[in-house]
Amino acid sequence: MHDTNTRPFSISRVAIYATLIVAMLVYLIPVVVMLLNSFKTTGDIRAGNLLALPTTWTLEGWSKAWSSACTGVQCEGVHGFFWNSFRMTVPAVLISTILGSFNGYVLSKWSFRGSNLFFSLLLFGCFIPFQVIILPMAFTLGKLGLANTLTGLVLVHVIYGVAFTTLFFRNYYVSVPDALIKAARLDGAGFFTIFFRILIPLSTPIFMVCLIWQFTQIWNDFLFGVVFASGHGQPITVAINNLVNTSTGVKEYNVDMAAAMIAALPTLLVYIVAGKYFIRGLTAGSVKG
């Protein structure tokens, strides 16, 4: 540490910073391009180059994307789909996270006959590609009378997400010393008291990891949305696809860019608010007893 502080211009330092700056640019350029162009007029985009600043800054693209752009036959912008995504993502994230923490608690602290097999099968769920379950899931949703409903979509995401959240919580709770559970049992705490009074208060970092992970996965999902929802019920990812593919007259790149930004903002916001917990939760799983 001391060494690097006293020699700020050592070659390795320069190399490290150069690499970091290059990496940052690679990741930032698409965002910058999107942002810049979302504030341009269509004429401006066609005339200038992609990286140039707008000659006139305008919110036209954003307001059109939000309230009047055409997504297929209807021309009401993406706002309805944006709220669809919210109404799908929030319950799906919360339910899958809560189920995951409960599963993780049982699997790590109350192992039962066959619990390891149960956990292995659940892990299997993490590796099943979306495409594989589409047909059986469509069939099941139809049987349940949930085809093409928001509830159905939430159910799909909960089922798919529980495998991941259980894995996260189980691995986190494994590092909580068993002696803590024993002490609580001797103190008279039962199954649920131990969960709510001892483990849940310890779980903030892993809750954040789960929330971010699940929010990103579910918000950004396209396939389930396009398959299991239709018309007015579709999430914003599907709506953007429709918006970009709707070809009436000239291509309005500013509107496309603005719509894409609108779709990306919530996940961005979640990362900014809870990101530090994400890093912390992923690296420091352990709890001192």
């Binding site: 002696a179 803590l180 002490a183 049992r185 001797l186 705490a189 009074r197």
Partner: protein, 370 residues
């Protein structure tokens, strides 16, 4: 005030092929301080967890004051346990840690507060009550863990290596503290330790366990002076007892054995008459450091005491005495000498062997024979 009876306790973990506890029988008197010692993995924690009800038994029964509690859930056994890792609830303050068990048992608030203050003053942790466990030192965490156990006023306390995470000085302090608490509260305590000084100083009785079997149960004096077998003898005492292979022979002054020193010095060790069934056979002599000392006029006339000049190999001054290493029949043997006694490494010195206090083992079974 509770008497605890362990009757033929057996435990086999469901995922393990071997029996971990193989029939443990111990009766613990009311107010007794019982210490469990034994090598790592011998089943001490398993036994403690079984008493607490945290592990189910595969066989046998546990009774408190004559009432069989084998099927009673842990919270209703009225037992408190202090863990090696302390197991303090990390998100709760010290106060809440101590009060947790009382809150769960729905005691009135003012009663809980009174109990927390009582315990806190007994352990001198009042200034810590509003801190979190992570803000405390190891010794302070240890006190809080004891406070949590004390607050419920249980019938029986279980301590599973409570001091092993503390540094040496603090360990001695806490040891005294625990002894004082026991005298003050006069409750039944079962206590696991690796530290045999802890065992000797705290225990009313010591239970030595190996591989899930109880090898010996007795007062510290009994276990130290008349160990049931070679394992117990080697486990208790520091520096450890030395074991010398000897052959019992008959001389005109009674039974004796001839042993050879490092420089081919031979000496004749008198043996007690009780070993006559072993005449002509090889047995194991167990000799503790204090059995070999500087010659002392008061003792030297005893028929089973002898003296010899032997070469010292190494000396280790400990302060109150010097531990010297000699070699007998090719076995390194510790002697405990007065620091005033002239003993230097590589030089011969006069030593007194007190064969009235040594012990003897059958080399085949390891059992003590005299």
């Amino acid at each position: 005030m509770a008497q605890l009876q362990l009757k033929d306790i057996r435990k086999t973990y469901k995922n393990s092929p071997e029996e971990t506890l193989k029939g443990i029988n111990i009766e613990i008197e009311s107010g007794e301080f019982l210490i469990l010692v034994g090598p790592s993995g011998c089943g001490k924690s398993t036994l403690m967890n079984s008493i607490a009800g945290l592990e189910s038994l595969s066989g046998g029964s546990i009774s408190i004051n004559g009432r069989d509690i084998s099927q009673v859930p842990p919270k209703d056994r009225d037992i408190a346990m202090v863990f090696q890792s302390y197991a303090l609830y990390p998100t709760m303050s010290v106060r809440d840690n101590i009060a947790f068990g009382l809150k769960i048992r729905r005691q009135p608030r003012d009663q809980i507060n009174a109990e927390v203050s009582r315990v806190a003053s007994m352990l001198q942790i009042e200034p810590l009550l509003d801190k979190k466990p992570s803000q405390l030192s190891g010794g302070q965490q240890q006190r809080v863990a004891m406070g949590r156990a004390l607050a419920r006023r249980p019938k029986i306390y279980l301590f599973d290596e409570p001091l092993s995470n503390l540094d040496a000085k603090l360990r001695v302090e806490m040891r005294t503290e625990i002894k004082r608490l026991h005298q003050q509260l006069n409750t039944t305590i079962v206590y696991v330790t690796h530290d045999q000084i802890e065992a000797m100083t705290l225990a009313d009785r010591i239970a030595v366990i190996k591989d899930g079997e109880l090898l010996q149960l007795g007062t510290p004096k009994e276990v130290y002076e008349t160990p049931a077998n070679q394992f117990v003898a080697s486990f208790i005492g520091s520096p450890a007892m030395s074991f010398i292979p000897i052959t019992v022979t008959e001389t005109d002054q009674g039974l004796a054995a001839r042993v050879t020193g490092a420089n081919r010095e031979t000496l004749r060790l008198p043996l007690p008459q009780g070993l006559s069934p072993y005449l002509g056979r090889q047995i194991t002599l167990g000799i503790r450091p204090e059995h070999i000392s500087q010659p002392e006029a008061a003792r030297i006339e005893h028929p089973l005491v002898t003296r010899a000049e032997l070469t010292i190999e190494v000396t280790e001054p400990t302060g109150p005495d010097v531990i010297a290493l000699i070699r007998l029949n090719d076995v390194a043997v510790h002697c405990r000498l007065n620091p005033e006694h002239p003993a230097r490494a590589g030089e011969p010195t006069q030593l007194m062997f007190d064969m009235a206090r040594t012990v003897y083992f059958d080399p085949d079974t390891g059992q003590r024979i005299g």
